[in-house]
Symmetry: C2
């Protein structure tokens, strides 16, 4: 049987994603990742370099695939609200991306890993936003996206705050989702209106 190095790499990346997602960079254990993947840990150093580089690989892979999984579709403020709703749902089902995002922010600070790829991803989202809300500036588009990410990604990472503020009755997620969607709609509509005023027909 041939060496299936791609499979081994994939196994390692998957196990690392789950470990880093749960415990972050400092809390993750190389031994645990290797054991979970059923692979000798020495492979990690051959394939990825070291713990930090493996973390980087996990971040880039997870965040890039998220960009493809949840696209911005349609146009108008309701398109941005719809995007926020789908992002919210995605994170509700699987909190991997938000957790990794915040781990990265906390443990890595301003240093961005996988810069070129992620810059391209962000630029693409900004362009989609401008397409959905014609006439708004790049800055406003970026701002709106940050607002959306803040609203959708913070909640799954802060279960305690949510429980403290809003209790844990059933239907909670539904209501929170509606609040996020509405807030994004209002913000997007305000930006769109502003853009229309600035460039009247």
């Amino acid at each position: 049987m041939a060496w299936d190095t791609e499979r081994t790499k994939g196994l390692l990346l998957k196990a690392a994603t789950s470990e880093f997602c749960a415990r972050g960079l400092a809390g993750a254990r190389i031994d645990r990742i290797a054991a979970e993947a059923g692979v000798n840990k020495e492979r990690i150093y051959q394939y990825f370099g070291n713990k930090n580089a493996l973390f980087d690989a996990v971040i880039v892979t997870a965040l890039s695939s998220l960009m493809d999984e949840v696209p911005i579709e349609g146009s108008g403020p309701e398109a941005m609200a719809d995007y926020a709703g789908r992002l919210f749902d995605h994170h509700q089902k699987d909190a991997t991306a938000p957790r990794l995002l915040f781990w990265e922010g906390l443990e890595r600070g301003a240093e961005v890993v996988g810069l070129p790829k992620r810059m391209a991803n962000c630029a693409s989202k900004v362009n989609s936003t401008i397409a959905a809300l014609p006439g708004i500036s790049k800055e406003d588009a970026g701002d709106l996206l940050i607002t959306i990410v803040s609203l959708c990604d913070a909640a799954p990472v802060l279960p305690a705050l949510d429980g403290l503020m809003a209790g844990d009755d059933p239907g909670r997620a539904e209501r929170r989702r509606a609040a996020v969607v509405r807030t994004v709609y209002l913000a997007a509509a305000a930006l769109a209106a502003e853009a229309r005023e600035a460039t009247p027909a």
Copy 2:
């Protein structure tokens, strides 16, 4: 000279706050905290118990004092927007609270430390919100507060996202602040309008 145990405890708590803020629970080092405080690390175990308990003490102290430092004042949607603005400014100047909040969320999950005190703090904020926007429900007040916290606390923890989305030109913080304040205003105004409709004069 008498033993000044309170001072020692305070020194330890201050050093621990800075260490946990920078590196989180898993990344923090007991030795570093003791050295920074200029105190023998054995004191930590006498005064606080262990690393986890020290982390809890830091969280409760920092988040509680934040509640007092940034109160909700006035009434109407603009009062909530103003609150968001002051919270944003506070976190801009000192990111300790947001960082600790997210560390706690990531490393501790749903388990809330210092539950009674924090429940009281949250309830107090919810009541202030209801006072500012008469007629809105507890759930909506909590939701609005979560929205505000998400918008104000996420940014200082995600410098990379901010740089990626919006560049790093001067005046960036100003613009982001304005966007947050406006978004909160719109959300609060919508809730207030809804409340007025539900209970017409």
